[in-house]
């Protein structure tokens, strides 16, 4: 029973991180119908920025909690800046080009960013400081949930709720939904589509950066390659839930995280990534629109 609970909590944590990254995929796909391959790299850059800032602040002797806060803010700022710039360089000049073009450009961008971080930082695993403090009340109850797991799950729930409210009620959120429905029509009613797309990239990148810093501090080490696998899995989660749908991405991430945790726990840990990919293939074959997605007919 304890083992089961452990796996369940591990799956929840995993799923939360996937959800934070998957939201960025799903939002971008909803608006410009592009798989932003470089999104996993944004997550990785967020984690690296967090590490660098946290390392600097530790050396300067800042207290524990403020390091976490400042590192998170810096990671968000830089990841958002990267997301914004990537869109301007690699995707914006390609609007209206054949579908394959921005996709290849995105793959190129992802390869570029990975090697950029590898060359300017290191190709080895870097230890990541434990930024999230141990909570007393968890220790007292002898609970199996660690404090970082608790923080990750809570932050994810808060971000998801916040994002849903933002999309539903704010002016920018409404503009996003309008642009996702019909870009030309949105332009006609006076929505600044370029601005909306930029905002989408910025929000998605910020969420990825939060995920990056939190998971890096939970796992304790990062390298330049973490974005690749995390990115693919988060994309799997987004597709699982129905790409383009925000609650779908959260649900898909949860399902994926739990599946992975139980499969590695009860079947074999060697094939951890294989389960995720098999799930993706199966979902795409039997229900291409995902759990929450709607089947769309192709128009001429």
């Amino acid at each position: 029973m304890e083992y089961f609970l452990e796996l369940l909590l591990g799956g929840l944590t995993r799923g939360s991180i996937y959800a934070l990254i998957a939201l960025g995929y799903t939002m971008v796909y909803g608006i410009i119908e592009l798989i932003n391959f470089a999104h996993g790299e944004i997550y990785m850059i967020g984690a690296f920025t967090g590490l660098i800032v946290a390392g600097l602040l530790t050396m300067l002797g800042f207290p524990g909690a403020s390091i976490l806060a400042i590192a998170l803010v810096c990671a968000i700022v830089w990841a958002a800046a990267y997301g914004y710039t990537i869109e301007k360089i690699a995707y914006k000049p390609l609007r209206g080009a054949p579908r394959l073009s921005p996709l290849i450009s995105a793959i190129g961008m992802s390869i570029f960013l990975q090697n950029y971080v590898m060359l300017s930082q290191t190709s080895d695993f870097l230890p990541f400081p434990e930024l999230i403090p141990e909570f007393e009340f968890l220790k007292a109850n002898n609970s199996i949930m660690s404090s970082s797991e608790l923080v990750i799950v809570i932050v994810t729930i808060l971000s998801c709720v916040g994002l849903s409210l933002f999309i539903k009620f704010t002016k920018l959120g409404k503009a996003m939904r309008a642009t996702a429905q019909n870009r030309t029509m949105a332009m006609l009613v006076g929505i600044n589509v370029d601005m909306v797309i930029s905002a989408t990239f910025i929000i998605g990148s910020s969420l990825a950066a939060v995920g990056g810093v939190l998971i890096a501090s939970h796992v304790g080490q990062i390298n330049y390659y973490i974005g690749f696998i995390a990115g693919i899995k988060a994309f799997t989660a987004a597709v699982l839930g129905g790409i383009g749908s925000i609650p779908g991405a959260m649900l898909g991430a949860l399902v994926l995280g739990l599946t992975e945790a139980f499969a590695t726990g009860y079947v074999s840990s060697d094939y951890e990534d294989v389960f995720a990919f098999c799930l993706l293939v199966l979902i795409l074959i039997f229900r291409p629109a995902g759990i929450m997605g709607k089947e769309k007919t192709q128009k001429v």
């Binding site: 690699a90 190129g108 597709v239």
Partner: protein, 430 residues
């Protein structure tokens, strides 16, 4: 007079370059300046600071900041100029560049064509006799990439299906030869068709369920598939020997003769030349066949294609399976060439390199893919000092090519059937 016009044209070029996409020189200057500042900010944490959390030391690399500022300042001028040029050239984008014009001229005039072919054949035959073992080895791996590029070109370039797991079929071919050779001593010449058949089978098996998906889903599923194959190779130790790989794979034999390393490399080289010629011939014939035209049509518009009575599924599956066939064969050659394989040779990066060969060379263009393979494989070999920047440059070039020259280095030329009205009319009269 001519000097004057030249001068003025130079001046106008300079002013066009300096103010491309801006109102005035000052505006352009401000834009570039802002871009430089933005990128300095952007790259600040990653490029300038390097912390060591174990020893608690920080390295500040301020010089990187200056490099970034300078290169972005001038780079932004080039970026804007290229964007502006693309905008102007939009209407004439079908026009050939000077180099392509030269190529077509060579291809259409029989005398030039045979002379060029003769020169290429002579160089190809003489190459291993003139240069040393190391160079021949590099050339063999370059030719392997040419075959892989041409194979992927069928899938991506002709049929427009983005396959990011191409390396899976390559791995299957390589492991098929390595395992059969290890257990049953199967020779290279039996393994080559076996690799091809296994590649085809796997292509059909994978293609059947996933080809119903739309383009970008297909990309992800094939990527996942490539990773699955690699992970299985890594973890299924009893069969594949795990991460340590399989060594001492036999090199190809020439009628049971024992050959020295130099001879067998030379032999390998000629085999590859043969395979490349066979591939070029095959792909060229395919391209102009009924099925090749169906692929091109499918790439352009699926719905119109179905309306014309083309079986979408069958056509796509054929492209996928044929691409996989060549990957399987290339895998066998790779295993024979290196005589050692392990799963590390079949990562996503390999797929990315092959894809960038096709994309940068020119999707759907045989000449382009060959040029792409030669440039992307040979250049990094000779520029060893820059080897670590190789993937960085590949990524950057992929983005730049997509933005500024989507058709690649040498664009594909569709065969045009000219109907000469006057000739046939006069023929009918007589």
């Amino acid at each position: 007079m001519s000097i004057l016009t030249q001068e003025s044209s130079q001046q106008s070029f300079l002013s066009a370059f300096l103010t491309a996409g801006c109102d005035s020189v000052a505006h352009a200057l401000r834009k570039s300046f802002l871009a430089a500042i933005w990128f300095v900010f952007l790259t600040f944490p990653i490029m300038v600071i390097r912390v060591n959390t174990i020893e608690n030391t920080v390295v500040w690399r301020w010089e990187n900041m200056a490099y970034i500022a300078i290169s972005i300042f001038f780079g932004s001028y080039i970026w804007r100029w290229l964007l502006a040029r693309k905008e102007i050239k939009k209407d004439e984008s079908k026009e050939e560049t000077r180099f392509e014009g030269l190529l077509t001229q060579v291809q259409t005039k029989p005398v030039l064509k045979y002379a060029a072919l003769g020169v290429i054949a002579l160089i190809a035959i003489a190459f291993p006799q003139v240069v040393d073992l190391y160079q021949t080895n590099i050339m063999v791996s370059c030719l392997v990439y040419v075959v892989l590029g041409l194979g992927l070109n069928i899938v991506v370039g002709l049929a427009g299906l983005l396959d990011l797991g191409y390396v899976a079929f390559y791995a299957v071919g390589a492991y098929a030869y390595a395992l059969c050779n290890m257990h049953w001593g199967l020779g290279f010449w039996y393994a080559l068709p076996l690799g091809a058949v296994l590649g085809t089978l796997l292509g059909v098996l994978l293609g059947f369920p996933v080809l119903r998906l739309r383009g970008d889903y297909l990309a992800i599923v094939t990527l996942g598939f490539g990773e699955i194959i690699r992970l299985v190779l890594e973890n299924w130790g009893e069969v594949t020997m795990g991460p340590s790989g399989i060594s001492r794979i036999d090199r190809p034999e020439f009628f049971n003769m024992k050959m020295s390393i130099v001879d067998s490399t030379t032999y390998m080289y000629y085999i590859m030349i043969g395979l490349v010629i066979f591939t070029i011939f095959f792909v060229n014939r395919l391209q102009n066949s009924r099925i090749g035209r169906a692929w091109l049509a499918l790439r352009e518009d699926e719905i119109a294609c179905q309306a014309m009575g083309i079986d979408k599924m069958k056509t796509k599956l054929l492209a996928f399976a044929l691409g996989a066939t060549w990957a399987g064969m290339a895998g066998v050659v790779f295993a024979a060439k290196t005589s050692f394989i392990n799963p590390a040779s079949f990562t996503f990066w390999e797929s990315a390199i092959i894809l960038s060969i096709v994309v940068i060379g020119g999707m759907g263009s045989i000449r382009g893919v060959i040029a792409g393979a030669i440039i992307l494989v040979l250049l990094p070999e000779y520029l060893r000092d820059f080897a670590e920047f190789r993937m960085l440059l590949f990524g950057a070039i992929m983005v730049l090519v997509m933005v500024f020259r989507p058709q690649g280095l040498i664009s594909a030329k569709r065969k045009i059937y000219k109907y000469e009205a006057s000739n046939t009319a006069s023929a009918g009269n007589e």
